[in-house]
């Protein structure tokens, strides 16, 4: 059993230690093992000797020393380094000489390398998510399994395979530069937003919201915003997550049922997170000549955040932003959201017209929000019978039990008193 104080140190330091060591051994699996060795040393020594004044440096020094020992003696690593044309003992000496003179910037560089390697496109999205939470979020395999409603062995297996894939593909421990950086960054941002969304709108299970995952994603996003501060979309994503998080306590009713955006008590919105989100959005917009998809989504979220009441929402501006978003990253889900905005700005029949065009899009087959939105617009147009069947259809499609209850409830109320 790890003491909570040591666990807290580890939570803060593990990613930096793994990153610092990975730079020496150039292998994520090995780096994690060496970092764990340092943790074990800490678990042996700290309970009797006390936690050192600078625990991060202590852990890093132990892990590096082990890494350097390994470089000197491990033939496998030796061969690997020869393939890259490196002289490992020179690297080792260099490291010993520079142990104390390394600047924070370099640790930052190592962390960035770690993020890009864990989110490397050679890995499946699931593997990237698990590896990122493990190596950068400092989550245990058990915590990741709980978060994704999976079993611990399955997650452990996924992480082992991911590390093997990286090793087999000889993925270098490097952060990309220039144009490649922009392309690879998309993969990193996708992973972070996926983690966030898994917490924000749990795809399956009994809970509508798993806030711990949202916090993990936000923390990763905020770290990345410091490391890659000149990248507008990083700030765009952070802005989007901050603003969405600001609503988390207004999104759930007293018995755990979801409350939709326009029906939320805006007094419960977290103004601190809104302010932070708006500041990140401003930063993203200042850096970018053209707003990217996350920045545009954040801008849409900000329209809601800045409206004191739902009635004051600037729907015409939102329609325009969705059009911009559809232009740079077309997707039927964006079209669906645009249709909702159009119905709010120009009336339900204008929205329904767009929705009906979407109904033939095969990519939306099985997407529960399509019949859910259609039902809503039909209800507003007084076409209760059609609305009821759309809500029932939507309910049969969602895997989230809370959401299903909400949809069935709407169908039931509407069929009881169709004029509502």
């Amino acid at each position: 059993m790890i003491s909570p104080a040591i666990e807290a140190v580890w939570r803060i330091e593990s990613a930096r230690v793994i990153a610092g060591v990975a730079r020496i051994v150039r292998d994520l699996g090995l780096a994690e093992d060496l970092a764990n060795d340092a943790l074990i040393a800490a678990l042996e020594q700290w309970p009797t000797e006390g936690i050192p004044r600078n625990p991060g440096a202590w852990l890093m020094a132990i892990a590096r020393r082990r890494a350097i020992d390994l470089l000197r003696w491990n033939k496998r690593t030796e061969r690997k380094h020869q393939e890259y044309g490196w002289n490992s003992s020179a690297i080792a000496e260099d490291y010993v000489a520079n142990l104390n003179s390394r600047m924070d910037d370099e640790i930052g560089d190592d962390l960035l390398r770690l993020i890009f390697t864990a989110c490397h496109p050679v890995l499946s999205t699931e593997a990237r998510v698990a590896l990122t939470l493990r190596l950068l979020g400092g989550l245990s395999t058990a915590e990741i399994a709980r978060a994704f409603l999976s079993s611990e062995p399955a997650i452990a297996q996924r992480i082992v395979r991911a590390k093997r894939t990286l090793a087999e593909a000889s993925v270098p421990f490097e952060a990309p530069r220039g144009l490649e950086l922009t392309a690879r960054l998309a993969s990193v941002l996708e992973v972070i937003y996926l983690i966030f969304n898994e917490g924000y709108t749990a795809a399956a299970g009994d809970d509508w919201l798993r806030p711990a995952l949202c916090d993990d994603a936000l923390r990763l996003g905020r770290i990345l915003a410091e490391l890659a501060s000149s990248e507008p979309e990083v700030h765009g994503l952070v802005a989007l997550m901050e603003i969405q998080s600001s609503r988390s306590r207004a999104r759930i009713g007293p018995s755990g049922e979801p409350i939709l955006l326009l029906e939320q008590n805006r007094g419960l919105w977290d103004q601190l997170l809104i302010r932070r989100g708006l500041a990140s959005l401003e930063r993203a917009e200042r850096l970018a000549a053209n707003r990217g998809p996350y920045t545009l989504q954040a801008a849409i979220a900000s329209c809601h955040a800045c409206a004191v009441t739902a009635d004051e929402t600037d729907w015409r501006r939102i329609v325009g932003l969705y059009a911009d978003l559809a232009a740079i990253s077309p997707s039927p889900v964006v079209d669906l959201n645009r249709a909702v905005a159009v119905s709010m700005a120009y009336g339900p029949s204008a929205g329904l017209e767009l929705i009906d065009q979407l109904c033939s899009d095969h990519r939306l087959i099985g997407y529960h929000l399509l019949p859910s939105v259609r039902g809503d617009l039909l209800a507003k147009l007084g076409r209760a019978n059609e609305a009821v069947s759309e809500f029932a259809r939507a309910a049969s499609m969602t895997r989230n039990t809370r959401e299903r209850d909400l949809l069935l409830d709407r169908a039931r109320r509407l069929s009881e008193s169709p004029r509502l």
Binding site: A5, A8, R11, I12, D215, L218, R219, G221, I223, R249
Partner: protein
Amino acid sequence: MRFMMIMIPGGYEKASPGTMPDPERVAEMMKYNDELRKAGVLLALDGLHPPSTGVRVSFKGGMPAVKDGPFAEAKEVVGGYWLIQVKSKEEAVEWAKRCPASDNEVIEVRQVHDFPGD
């Protein structure tokens, strides 16, 4: 979970208006603030003017009474705060321990209620 790390600088209760920390200390604190920011835990922070320029509003007998600082009765006063988002109380304490605070300073770590008004 959110925690507030409240800085209580000894002697600040008597500090004269316009008292500023010395630049060297400010630079050290900025470095610490950067560390919190880079770790993705910092939500907000502020430093407060000394209480000698502050005001206390008390409500004895249900009537607000206003009194200008300094406040002779105050033994400890707040000098500033950090609001952080962390995984546990222990993590908050670990961050507090890393503050480059001086001999006469105390940091009080307090958890923020999750649902204001509940």
